[in-house]
Symmetry: C2
Subunit: 141 residues, 2 copies
DNA sequence: ATAAATGCAAAGCATTTGCAGTAAA
DNA sequence: TTTACTGCAAATGCTTTGCATTTAT
């Protein structure tokens, strides 16, 4: 199911398919780089020179509410966006700050004594560390 | 080892014990509410009316570097701080936004095919859901 | 036709920084 | 006495918002 369709399976909020939104969706589709709003703006505004920051943010918020993209809060400096809304985790490289996908392994659960009192609607593992290329540089230094 | 000592086991960076810092450490010690910088400022400035925001931030950054407090990035709006630097996880209530501790259960690991390429220095599970009191309200609504 | 989206500029917060004065060591 | 910290205010950076105009439906 492409996220460009007017309706989504999940939240089902319909939204207008404007050229700007399609351009953002186009950039996002299949993108595994976990871009920030600024990354998206810089890339998409090359082709749509009229694109504004407000539109990028409005679109991302709309898509997030519709369940078409996922907001990632692993980086304290800014939000990142992921078109892959399936359950998976992330690793952020503490050197270059790039974010990498980590496939979902064993599912994460609350300890038994909390499970009765809390309702869990989602979970996410953040890994901190060094990516392959920064790991190499580190050893040399 | 109390975090008020001039040196910490971990990073070992010494720092001056000023009254402002002692007041912040005093507020933090044993605190499980995961306060934001603003929460800390509001509480500590009641007793130390000269306390400034810059000092709160400077102190928190110093303590974080020294390994005496942990920055929590579960809330996209602001950072939260945790004096408990032992390995544990968190749940944020999507209704009231309060953060709760989740004890560390099984340790989290990268899948085998990534483990050889990445160096993991830390990990953290974020749970999203409803706390007991917001869960009750939700059912009634 | 009508409800919603765009784009601009301004506003809003959280956080950082420069710097002169002050205090811990 | 020297080095580091405080406090203020200004600055920065990310994100949101108000509003007049434009556009998808």
């Amino acid at each position: 199911m492409p996220i460009k369709s007017t309706h989504t399976k999940k939240a089902g909020t319909p939204f207008k398919r404007t050229p700007q939104r399609l351009a953002i969706l186009d950039f996002l589709e299949g993108n595994t780089s976990h871009p920030s709003a600024d990354d998206i703006y810089r890339s998409v505004s090359k082709k749509y020179q009229s694109m504004s920051f407000a539109t990028v943010y409005n679109t991302l918020n709309t898509l997030a509410k519709a369940g078409a993209v996922r907001e990632i809060t692993i980086d304290p400096k800014r939000k990142h966006y992921d078109p892959d809304t399936s359950g998976h985790h992330h690793l952020i490289c503490v050197a270059c700050e790039r974010i990498f996908d980590v496939p979902e392994g064993i599912s994460v659960e609350l300890p038994g004594d909390m499970a009765g009192d809390f309702i869990v609607t989602g979970s996410h593992i953040e890994f901190y560390g060094y990516c392959p290329s920064c790991g190499k540089k580190k050893k040399k230094a």
